[in-house]
Symmetry: D4
Subunit: 149 residues, 8 copies
């Protein structure tokens, strides 16, 4: 699917307000409600829009600590470890990247006690992990929504 300018404008509006009505979107673009709906349906059908969702404030949801991890694995265990970590509800994202043979992982937990438990009981217990590096978020300068990271 090739995106045109109107598609991109619709996407930008939906990134800013995922519940904006097709009527309101149409008004801004001189399009009918039906035309907007058709375009949005195409964007969903072709997988450009993967999901309508909400952004929740982690601290207000009770997750005080936002931590990044670099997880070194024995190479032969990397995919298996990644798949187990992906099932852990404390793990928000888990990526393999170029650079060192580590997994890059983002974890959200209630507090420091929960972080220590996650590390010692859940992370260090996985076979194939050789070294872990963890850092705590101090300050957000930008946290854009829309495009999947």
């Amino acid at each position: 699917m090739k995106l045109d300018d109107i598609d991109r404008k619709i996407l930008e509006m939906l990134i800013e307000d995922g519940r904006m009505s097709y009527v309101d979107i149409g008004k801004k673009l001189n399009l009918s409600r039906v035309a907007v709906r058709e375009r949005v349906n195409q964007l969903v059908k072709h997988g450009v829009i993967e999901k309508f969702t909400v952004v929740i404030n982690s601290e207000k949801f009770g997750k005080q600590v936002s931590a990044f991890f670099e997880v070194d694995c024995e190479p032969a265990y990397l995919v298996e470890v990644a798949q187990k970590l992906a099932e852990n509800p404390n793990v928000a994202s888990c990526y393999q990247m170029t650079g060192p043979s580590t997994l890059h992982m983002h974890v959200l937990v209630e507090d420091f006690a929960a972080l220590e438990k996650f590390i010692n009981n859940e992370l260090y217990a996985l076979e194939g992990i050789t070294r872990v590096e963890s850092h705590i978020l101090l300050r957000r300068f930008k946290s854009r929504t829309g495009l999947k990271l």
Copy 2:
């Protein structure tokens, strides 16, 4: 605002489908449409829900390369550099964390040529940057939506 079980269930449903109607949410929870609307309004008002939005597939949107950066700054320049990077449209997120005095940054660009241009023309041109480390995403094992990272 203290969240109860019903709030949490509403949030989970909205994470999965941000356009779910209050009627449908209400049916699942034995609540009226009005009661659901009132709770959602409270969640928005207290900042628990920061935004209704969409998740867009970066590759299908034309951003083929997803890159992580560690940006080392002279300490005195760190906040200034972070604020400039936050204004750059290629930068999706920018965090300060414990660990080394670097900025952690996520960048989405069209292709490798755009990445090279971003690095050499936009990043390396900022005063106060002493060293940059970049890695390219190879594989996503988990990329959860909902809670803000």
Copy 3:
């Protein structure tokens, strides 16, 4: 227990001189000996004051070498190694921190021969240790007492 200004002033005086009499503390704060005693008892009872103790000069006590260690463990062994090290009389403190999956440890020994013996016979003999980094104290710029590190 909520601390007020008088509690804090009492604590500061006891940090500077742990044997200061309640009469002398009371004079400085316009309080009776009994009132001071009652407050100190409360501070002890609630665990604000963990211990009355002395600070001993390590060199004059015969511990010439003060060394910091970073101890890398196989993740599955970290807690067990930490508990064994905590029982070692040469180990003054042992912490787990964010950052790399190491234990941070402070060791006081008589001299270099004792340090070499501690490293080769006691530390390297523990199962699960993969790498050790040691550094020797050269100069103290500050070594505050009072708050537990």
Copy 4:
């Protein structure tokens, strides 16, 4: 001053309870109150005992976050930076060690917001600092009092 066994036993008792009376110490060692007082006075006079003090629980005192820092300086600035950091009330200890040309520093602050402020406003503002590494205490396995670290 050469310490004998009785001196060492007195020191051990005072480490465990810095307010123990000379009478009680004397009973355990078959010594008179006067003999104990004389020995303690000698230990203080010769600087073996540097201070009578208390150990305060940092969390209960309102210092939730205990952080270690490695501060890299331009070599010519190291002593000056160390002396400025030693004056900062958030800094509990500051050492120069063998190994890399960094300062090893222990910081106690109220919470994460205070930590971020300390880093960005107080630490990064010092001339001569080139890189900082910070780690947060997760778990204490041992924190011995008595001998000065």
Copy 5:
């Protein structure tokens, strides 16, 4: 230009022997000399074949030492440094890569004295270079020709 199987076979033969005659290539592929020539011309015209060349044994040519360098630059100087290094006759290749903000460089020199001179007089003299790491080739396990690295 889309390559077909015959193009690929011709390229493989020319990688192994860049002076192979069109007649001999044609025999192996059941093609006329003219047809082979036409295909080779197209491969050159479209830039698939960049160059006919020879592989020279470096040691026998008098270059005893083959060294890899990682050159750290102040980011603002990276492109300029790279361009100057590219003009240096001792430099065989010079790349910018993801990872740390270094240049990756391959150098061939007569002997160790020439290497030391190259480093101290030519490399360290360039403005903007902050750190250099060099390694000497010990053993070649594979050194494939054909595709440009």
Copy 6:
């Protein structure tokens, strides 16, 4: 074999155009075709010229991604791992160098999906590999042909 100036000039011409005729080379050097042929034969016979070949544009050949790897091995496995990697068709070069006990490897693959497969299925599957570091080529500043790296 000792090279003289004429040998070196012939080599330079062949590096620039490996199919240059002996007649043309001879004209530039005031030599007969036979004399040039004899010298080239000697250069081949003594192994100074290892091969006549072509340089192929990797991208146009369908290899979009050019990656460098540092492969850490358990020392006892290094030679074995190197020999297996040398047989892998994606591996363009593989060297052992001074510095860390890693193999330095250059890999050319079709695209990122192929890179991820190469890493997870072929590289990480080799026994004795403990850690891998990969970087992607961003920009070529120099890529000289002729002397074997």
Copy 7:
């Protein structure tokens, strides 16, 4: 044995010329030959002088390559590995130091081929070695004799 100024002057002369006669030393110090001999004997007897020896030019002796190694061992194997390396005739010195748990080793070999053989056949074959880092001497700025390193 307490050294006085005359002892130190004798040592300095012997460092510069280990075969200097007692008569010549005595002349410079206004001492008899017998008095010098007696002092030298005392210095040898008390182990201040460990050995009379020669300094040989390594390159002229046929050892073209002078290399430093950092050898990482599994901690439990460190002493055993060190003792085996100490027996290897290519190893000139082998030390354990503070810092990382590596052995610091100096190796002298004939040429690069000998170095590669030493590394792959002798060093990597030892059980308990996990990683090796090697560097080649480029230039000596000072190489003092006399005091044992």
Copy 8:
């Protein structure tokens, strides 16, 4: 000068005892005193033997602390810094090597106070030094004399 077996045997004897008489050497090799003297003179004249000297026990000479340093310099200052360090009487050896752009240095000092002074007053005061890493010798496994390192 080409060394033969007899030269090598003479060198080995002189390494073990630099004051061994030509008569004694001659007896072991079936050579006359004059023949030995002639060979030794040739070895000195051709620079194979650089010096007759003694090995002094550093601790007994009053140098309690033996320390290794890695000194990072701004590349443009490396040679100048090396030359200044070579003049410092505490510096026993100073080398430039492949690997990182550091100077490798061996220092012998009286005690820790002298080490701290050397670092802060002499080393850190040199212009062009950016970072220093120091390690203390814990145990000698081998310290061979004879060949110059």
